[in-house]
Amino acid sequence: MSITSLTFLAFVALAVGLYYAAPRRYRWVALLLASAAYYLICDFRLAGWFVLTSLSIWGCGLLIGRQEAAYQRRLSAGEGLDREARRALKKKNARTKTAYAWLAAAFNLAIWFAFKFTDLIIAAVNRRFSASFSLLGLALPLGISFYTFQAISYVVDVSKGKCPVQRNYFKLALWLGFFPQMLQGPFCRYSETAEQLYTPHDLQYENLRSGAQLMLWGYFKKMVIADRAAQIVQTVFGQPAQYRGAALVIGALAYAFQLYGDFSGGIDIMTGAAEMLGIHLPVNFTRPFFSLSVAEYWRRWHITLGAWFRDYVFYPLSMSKAAQRVGKKTRAWFGAQTGKLLPTCAVTLIVWTMNGIWHGTGRRFAVYGFYQGLLMSLGILAAPLTARLIRRLRINPGSFSWKLWQGVRTFTLMLFGRVLYKAPSVMEALRMWRSMIVDFDLRSIAGSGLYSLGLDAHELFILLMALLVLLGVSILQERGVRIREAVARQNLVFRWLLYLAALFAVILFGAYGEGYHPSEFVYAQF
């Protein structure tokens, strides 16, 4: 069920109706039924894998809960225990709970890994040993990359005592598979959304209004911007060898806006649907194109994935005994300042390579992740030098010109990153990079050249206008204007004129109809 289809809108309307019509104490059951129906409609054959994952973390949670209860009993029974004995008991309890969490995490990661990488490994073996094993062609269960990682966050948080054990399997399954977050996130922590799902919400006009507004904005980003920009992307990245310089830059720009419109638009649609049910999902994007550094970009883009890797991989690795041992050596070799930073840089490279691999199978995704990690590591290492340079050159870091330079630099680095991500291979991406830098010739897109990239003058004009609207809204949001509330405060006539204008913009300028093939959501394919 595509979320740009009328079927999806009817489904949301039905889910909202069912939720508010249900008796208060069974409203969470209505959500569970809606989520199960959504999953079964979208992916009937592979739903069993979701059930397996949810059962595994439910069982793991119960085991951790039992271990913690036993520890508390021993603690209260042994009041005469000295400090050392209590410490040992505490350590053993923590170790046991962590072992349970690791077991559940490894089990679910193994399933995820098998689905994502089996064919890649078979193909590599065939190439390396001239073998001819058949590829399995496994279809990915819907949302596996999202629910697997969310499931891991639950077992780790329970083991660390950061969230309570959920004893009711169906409630836990609802938290893991709540339909608006199922397809492409955001990653929700148990402590963030679980109680919201279980607590009955009453029908409120504000929730319906605010949710519908967000959905409409999401459809605008997805259908007017992303699906239109996708035409250029398909043309340029479909046969990149045929294009050079400026055309490749336009292709890369189109891809940047396609991905943003597609992903953030999809998240807006789903977050809006959840808001209509009175449930607030975590924010996943805060205008990443305004970032002044690569690190900031990743704090604004797919925020919940970045936070997942930070909390469950970056922090544990950076604070591990191994990192501390390495840190002591690097400090001895490179001096206190640089030596202290090197383990953090190494961990950053590991984490971002993993992040790249999460995005897709294939070498270029790992290289893409490594590229991001490398940019961030260089940023950390160069920070003292940059600070000295700024002082020497008497640059005012708060000035507009300096911030503009930082913004353009970051955007350009991310643009090159996107080429790495989208090109058919790493070698092709490098060729495209080279052409974008040394062969940038505006004449290659002069005249009708520009209109041969997938959009004619009329379509290109609509795309540019839509991007201007996006820019205007983003600037207002960046200045702290809460646009949905601001619109809601306007008088009735003006307010509804705005709503109708947005609705007709989506209907009239949405990229569908003859010649268009609505794109699948890019992130839904992970």
């Binding site: 660390k160 950061k162 690190a295 704090r299 922090y315 950076s318 604070m319 840190g327 953090t344």
Partner: protein, 75 residues
């Protein structure tokens, strides 16, 4: 407290640690800062800050960080 402030200030000279009350919630300190702070505090106070201690409540203010250090020293 002065010793703690000087450690924090050395890592992020641009932050007013004395008065900021939402160092994490407002996104003033980032993950790289947190790791640098944890490493320096571990060395300076001979403590072992655990991943489970990396909660916003423990790092939002200089007082909270101080309380965390005291708790770990007394454990």
């Amino acid at each position: 407290m002065e010793k703690l402030l000087s450690i924090l200030q050395a890592i992020r000279p641009d932050v007013d640690f004395r008065h900021e009350k939402k160092l994490i919630d407002d996104g003033i300190l980032h993950s790289f800062d947190i790791i640098a702070i944890v490493n320096d505090l571990n060395d300076a106070y001979d403590i072992e800050i655990d991943v489970a201690d990396l909660e916003p409540d423990n790092f939002n203010t200089v007082e909270a960080i101080h309380a965390l250090i005291e708790r770990l020293q007394n454990e």
